[in-house]
């Protein structure tokens, strides 16, 4: 997924004649090399998905052998009718919106700044990237101390200008506080991607634009930004997929509370499966999450990243 190079023009030329090869032996070699990975993939990825789809049709507390009490699509109808599911989707939409409109532009801005020749550039890069290296659990514990409404650092800081907030304890601010933590943790990662993307842009193009009389913003708007397109599309993609599956941070910071105000699909799934022992229903939630991710991934690759991924599976039909 990291190779986002454009298809070279040469690819439309007739392929050079290959030396004849014994077809059978080639297949055997391929099978031999692919087999271990394939077995692992089937066992650890495909099989669990199938089991979850199977289990989602049952009322099952998860104990003992395979489920027996088949209830058809009841788990799904129950899910689609549940208010918690609707709020989960709303939270997903809000977080994705904030990520794309706030977090990623912020990362892009900082990446552009750090691409300038400024003193201590690599130190800044290191500092901004550091939060991404921390595990989510550590980040969450850290921020539950910082955002404590009674003794937290955050209230001390905004207290200077006479403000205070209950952060994670107030249903009205919890989602924004969560986004704050997400941004702190992940903007460095996106900044790094953008920096790498920016450095792939040949300096000649920028120079040429400058010679033609374009200044700062115009160079960025008409040269840098379009050429960063593939990088930005990938970072939006990663951001959305991550948000669909968001769990660790939320679970430790809020457990989805107060009153479900910060609950995500994965938190609901965990609560239903492990606290309430309704594994059939939880499987239905996981199937819906899987479906959401799959539809988004395929749709996004097909329509948004089409040019970046030409030749990949999703664009198979377009091959000329």
């Amino acid at each position: 997924m990291t190779t986002v190079t454009r298809r070279p023009e040469a690819a439309t030329l007739p392929a050079p004649a290959r030396p004849p090869r014994k077809r059978g032996r080639g297949l055997l070699t391929i099978a031999l090399f692919v087999l271990p990975a394939l077995v692992l993939f089937l066992l650890l990825v495909v099989a669990p998905i199938l089991v979850a789809i199977y289990a989602s049709g049952f009322k099952w507390n998860g104990f003992g052998g395979l489920p027996t009490d088949f209830i058809g699509f009841d788990n799904f109808t129950r899910l689609f009718r549940s208010e918690i599911f609707t709020t989960d989707l709303w939270h997903l939409a809000v977080l994705v919106g904030l990520c794309v409109l706030v977090q990623l532009p912020l990362a892009l801005g900082i990446a552009m700044l750090l691409n300038q020749r400024i003193r201590g550039r690599s130190l800044y890069r290191l500092i901004f990237f550091a939060p991404y290296v921390l595990s989510e659990v550590i980040t969450a514990v850290l921020f539950s101390l910082i955002l404590s409404p009674t003794s937290g650092l955050a209230n001390e800081i905004i207290g200077i200008v006479g403000l205070e907030s209950e952060w994670l304890s107030d249903p009205g601010t919890v989602l924004l506080s969560l986004f704050l933590v997400l941004t702190w943790k992940y903007f460095g990662f996106h900044m790094m991607i953008y920096l790498a993307g920016r450095q792939n842009i040949p300096e000649e193009l920028i120079e040429a634009a400058k010679i033609d009389g374009a200044a700062g913003w115009k160079v960025f708007r008409h040269v840098t930004l379009p050429l960063l397109g593939p990088t930005i599309r990938i970072s939006v993609f990663l951001s959305v997929i991550y948000t669909i599956q968001l769990f660790d941070l939320v679970w430790i910071l809020t457990e989805g509370g107060p009153a479900h105000a910060s609950e995500t699909l994965a938190v609901t799934m965990f609560d239903v499966g492990f606290d309430r022992a309704q594994v059939g229903y939880a499987s239905a939630i996981s199937v819906v999450m899987f479906g959401l991710s799959l539809i988004f991934a395929l749709g996004y690759q097909r329509f948004v990243m089409r040019r970046d991924l030409e030749g990949a599976t999703t664009a198979m039909g377009d091959r000329r």
Binding site: A55, G65, S148, S169, P171, V174, P258, A277
Partner: protein, 426 residues
């Protein structure tokens, strides 16, 4: 996909590892040195003195039976519940593990994960008080032995009550609301509550339901799966009236129980006047804050005027230890070792647990725990924590709905209706 698959991966484990117990070969009884045995012991006593008591017992047991190695897994409440659920759903259980009895234990028994120890403990069963055993006995069979039994009540700061001009701990609900108002007027936060963890909040609703509807009605509601009687709605309304007084510490909806700024620490550091908590409250307070020492007092949950329940009916539970279905015989020995008269009394003397054996009452040294033990001994009725008494889904719904009532997101009527809906579907 990692998270999407977390659950289904666990499901696959059911199919994959349903069979054998990890590494616990049967003891060789045909003579010679017994084979080495590793015992998995899971409990949730993360706070001293009980934590150290258990470590000491484990060492003593290993000294007595050199072929036994005890591997302890100690987790706090919420994490413990999740981890046990995850393991039991994969078809296994630890060799010895902490349980509260009730509907959760019942579900594990139904899944064939818990050993029926009736025959093994028959000789010692008579040493236990009857009340302490009930949560672990089903159809006349015993599935666990109690190590602790207690009740939930208000733990309060005598000094702060005095400052607010409250001379006597309240015995009626209206006097209680008065006390809350007086504390507020005196600029003192009346109550600390861990809103994030939900289970401490459910104590309020459960006690009010007991006091208003009466204990038999609450127990009947569990059997009938019907919590819509007007008395249960009233319990919610009384609770809402308390919440409307805004008696809790700042940010209580996001507060945990045993963290540096949690419920226990808030009381322990004198920043709130009381908390509704079980017999372990003093130990957790000391563990998370300065501790109140002699300023700490205990009073039972007040009676509600016109209600069918009385102030002498207790709500709470203790802790027991259950033995996994595939556990080696040594696990039962360890269970008996923990609860035998000498050893258990030592734990009582350290204020770690309350008496579960007959005649242990005199070993209780702490004056507050003495009040708890006496209230319990004289209790006219007893109700186990609702989130343990009922099947997991119903218990979790009680906790969840009541938490939403605290947050103002659900009405008392909705709480009663939602608990009923889940109870009916189980």
């Amino acid at each position: 996909m990692r998270r999407t698959l977390a659950l289904i991966a666990a499901t696959v484990l059911v199919a994959g590892c349903g069979g054998g117990q990890s590494a616990a070969p049967e003891t060789d009884t045909s003579g010679g040195a017994p084979q080495k045995v590793t015992l998995e012991w899971w409990h949730l006593s993360t706070a001293d003195p009980l934590k150290t008591v258990y470590e000491t017992r484990a060492k003593e047991f290993q000294a007595k039976y050199p072929h036994v190695t005890i591997k302890m897994t100690v987790l706090e409440n919420e994490a413990y519940k999740s981890k046990v659920t995850t393991l039991t759903q994969s078809g296994k259980a630890p060799d010895l593990f902490a349980t509260w009895g009730g509907g959760v234990l019942q579900q594990q028994i139904d899944a064939g994960l818990v050993k029926d120890v009736s025959a093994d403990v028959a000789p010692v069963l008579d040493t236990f008080t009857k009340a302490s055993l009930t949560a672990y006995q089903f159809d006349g069979k015993t599935y666990a032995l109690p190590v602790d039994i207690g009740m939930v009540g208000f733990w309060y700061n005598k000094k702060l009550f005095e400052q607010a001009g409250i001379t006597e701990p309240p015995t009626t609900w209206s006097a209680y609301l008065d006390a809350v108002t007086k504390l507020k007027t005196a600029g003192i936060t009346p109550i600390a509550l861990a809103g994030k963890e939900k289970w401490p909040g459910h104590y309020y609703w459960a006690y009010l339901a007991m006091r208003i509807a009466g204990l038999p009605a609450l127990q009947q509601a569990g059997v009938d799966h019907d919590f819509t009687k007007p008395e249960f709605v009233q319990a919610g309304q009384r609770l809402k009236a308390l919440v409307d007084l805004q008696p809790f510490q700042k940010g209580f909806l996001g507060a945990s129980y045993s963290t540096p700024d949690g419920q226990a620490a808030t009381v322990s550091n004198g920043k709130a006047a009381m908390e509704l908590m079980g017999q372990w409250a003093p130990n957790v307070q000391n563990d998370n804050g300065k501790g109140l020492g002699d300023d700490l007092g205990f009073f039972p949950f007040p009676a509600v005027e016109g209600g069918k329940g009385t102030i002498t009916e207790a709500f709470g539970g203790g802790g027991g230890m259950a033995v996994g279905a595939d556990a080696p015989a040594e696990a039962i020995e360890l269970l008996k070792f923990l609860t035998e008269t000498g050893n258990h009394t030592k734990a009582v003397e350290k204020n770690a647990v309350l008496p579960v054996l007959k005649g242990e009452e005199s070993a209780v040294k702490d004056p507050n725990l003495k009040v708890v033990a006496d209230s319990l001994a004289n209790a006219t009725g007893f109700q186990l924590y609702l989130d343990q008494a009922y099947p997991p889904a119903v218990g979790a719904e009680v906790n969840d709905s009541v938490a939403e009532l605290f947050a103002g997101a659900k009405t008392p009527e909705q709480v009663a209706a939602d608990i009923t809906e889940v109870a009916k579907s189980e």
